[in-house]
Amino acid sequence: MRRKEFLKKLEQELKFYKKIDTQEIIYYYEEMIQDAIDEGQNEEDFIASLGPVHSIIRNMVGDEEFIHEVKRSNNNSLTTLIGGTVKIFAFFFYGVAIFTTFIVALSIIISGIAIVFQSGIYIYANSLILSDYILIGGLILLGIGITLVGISIIKSTLRMSKSIKLYIIRKTKQLFRKKEVNNYE
């Protein structure tokens, strides 16, 4: 990402935090980037090293003193009023996303098991020739493969559940903040 794009993105995100001196933070990063370039660093590499804009802001507002300022500045804003609603919506979206993923993964696992099971029954119930065995062997492997895909979906969902939750909360907050900014502008 180039400087102009980065600063624009930063400015857009900072808009959500009223009364925080957006311009001062922009100057701070502008100066930081220019100093890095003057020291021989590559512009894009340095900007990449700063991390994503939302992490930068999260880190800044993570500072107690700073968040106090943010809270104070947002006291009369809709954010305070809808804070609880945002959380409820975010957790609802999270619940739906996780539930859907699990249902899909579960149906994949069941389909896989069903293929294996049905192939087994077919072998058991019929007298087969070699080519049938090869075909059914392939089907069994396919069934196992599908089952494993389902299991790995569940495993990765569990592993990534925290990041998914954070992502959904962030997106929901953004959605509400956009509304808020529009209402105030």
């Binding site: 933070i25 701070y28 990063y29 930081m32 100093d35 930068i56 880190n59 003193e65 700073f66």
Partner: protein, 100 residues
């Protein structure tokens, strides 16, 4: 390291980095990062806080036809640094007790 402890030490590190000469954001990070990891987004609130507590003062100066913000340690900031040096002996004793 404990977040609160790191935060307190970072403030002192920033003060120490401008103890002998005034400095600017990028250089402060460069000076500190060899000892302690600090990101640009961590430094900004610290600088703001130190300024608000009147431990440092900032001023703008022209460098290469652009404005650069410098930070200068002032009396209260120097006092905080000396106090930290005094506290060090006490902290060392406490850690010796914790470690035993």
């Amino acid at each position: 390291m404990d977040i609160q402890l790191k935060k307190g030490l970072l403030e002192l590190m920033v003060l120490a980095s401008i103890k002998y000469e005034d400095s600017y954001g990028y250089k402060i990070i460069q000076d500190i990062s060899s000892i302690m990891e600090v990101s640009e987004s961590t430094l900004y609130p610290i600088l703001k806080r130190l300024e608000k507590q009147k431990l440092v003062k900032s001023y703008n100066t022209t460098y290469n036809s652009r404005i650069r913000k410098y930070y200068k340690i002032i009396t209260k900031g120097r006092e905080k640094l000396s106090k930290a040096t005094e506290d060090y002996e006490e902290v060392k004793r406490m850690y010796a007790f914790i470690k035993r």
